[in-house]
Symmetry: C2
């Protein structure tokens, strides 16, 4: 079972280094059109995209997020969970908009933004472009909100940088399907620890053999590092979500 | 700019009615493999998939969610935001796992699950299968947690039903790109209201002309309906997220 689409999906890599060649407007529009056709929860179309094109803004974005790759090249799309557009529709008719701030509507907006981003990424990769998700956007959520002038009931979920790849790295192996797919109920395999041992070996081989940024690392190493520390401002994500009008249910 | 992948993405429709033909195991594995290769935040691989295959469980799922389509045919994948697998790694080494319950880690797990689901959906559509997202999973979050035996630090985000389509419906028009894409800062177009008028007309035409389930409806109608009411148990989403160990930052 193979076709161009499955080939594209199976060959996904994170690409961070882009050549100087810029995306033309037709390409940007094609990617956005693909994103806009994705499924949307309750047909509410609750996401937006902001392209950061101004170089001073890109520079500030890189400073805020600590993500210097994004500044140099590539087209920078920021995906926004957006209930503000629908809030405007409610307001114009004097309808209560209270439900838009509830937890399930925040989740729906995050789902919409995320699956749209993946369609954009897949479209990009299918025409030979490379892409990387910038989760670093959560390093400074309030500054991002200010930088992009985000109104109430919106939240910046992540960026996607898209450009012409300079090099294509080796593909990073993933956990085996037996560790992530279960039938009828949640149940980690009984040999999960053994399976992690094997996977850690596989990942160490990958890091040893790759041509750039070679290092000794396992999956467990990475998890332990992510458990040990996290940028301080990430602890403000919940506060900023509330400030934006979300998750007020229990207050 | 066109190829099979972009063609697949641009032709997305929600398919809810499937023939009796079941997905074979090779197809299920191909879809899961495509999903597993997607980007993952901080390389933490924080999502899982549960296939509901047992018919009594499918029946209970349909009762809980009110989604009767899912019961009859099609393969039912439930996507889980999953920090439990990494919690196990931390526990095994005596490392604090506190960070896994923070808001940013919940978001990362939801992103991972969502973009993996979109890759699975795109792979399915590329080989002629149809799919629908089942957001109805949020109608009864605690019952879903119980039904699937979900451990701490997991949450069921949505289902994806995949099968062989009986009919292919017309494609539902989306908001124009000018309403969802901005440059450098968030800014609804000055003619947003006019643009909504046009879009409402376009959508009414679509509903009038489509062969099944024809009705008079606009985008604004739908939004007003979604603002007016929502299933009662959806108000428990935040509580269930907390019970699962998430968003405890401020408690």
């Amino acid at each position: 079972m193979d076709n161009q689409t499955i080939h594209t999906l199976m060959n996904h890599r994170t690409i961070r280094d882009f050549s100087d060649r810029q995306l033309d407007q037709a390409t940007v529009n094609t990617l956005l059109a693909a994103a806009s056709q994705t499924a949307t929860s309750m047909f509410m179309q609750q996401f937006s995209v902001i392209s950061i094109t101004e170089s001073s803004l890109k520079h500030t974005f890189a400073e805020i997020t600590g993500d210097t790759h994004a500044e140099k090249n590539g087209h920078l799309f920021i995906f926004i969970a957006d209930q503000y557009r629908n809030y405007q529709i409610g307001q114009a008719s004097g309808q209560s908009t209270k439900l838009l701030g509830e937890a399930d509507r925040l989740l729906a907006a995050i789902y919409d933004a995320s699956i749209a981003a993946e369609s954009l990424t897949t479209a990009a990769e299918s025409i030979g472009l490379g892409a990387s998700y910038l989760g670093s956007i959560l390093n400074e959520p309030q500054q991002l909100v200010d930088l992009l002038h985000l109104p109430t009931l919106t939240f910046p979920v992540f960026g996607v940088a898209v450009g012409y790849p300079v090099t294509i790295p080796e593909q990073k192996p993933r956990l085996p399907l037996t560790a992530i797919h279960f039938t009828n109920q949640y149940h980690l395999p009984d040999n999960y620890s053994q399976l992690l041992d094997n996977y850690d070996h596989e990942l160490t081989d990958y890091y040893n053999q790759r041509s750039t940024n070679s290092r000794v690392e396992t999956f467990r190493h990475n998890i332990m590092r992510q458990l040990a520390k996290s940028p301080k401002q990430r602890r403000t994500v919940l506060k900023v979500l509330r400030k934006q009008g979300f998750l007020l249910d229990e207050q």
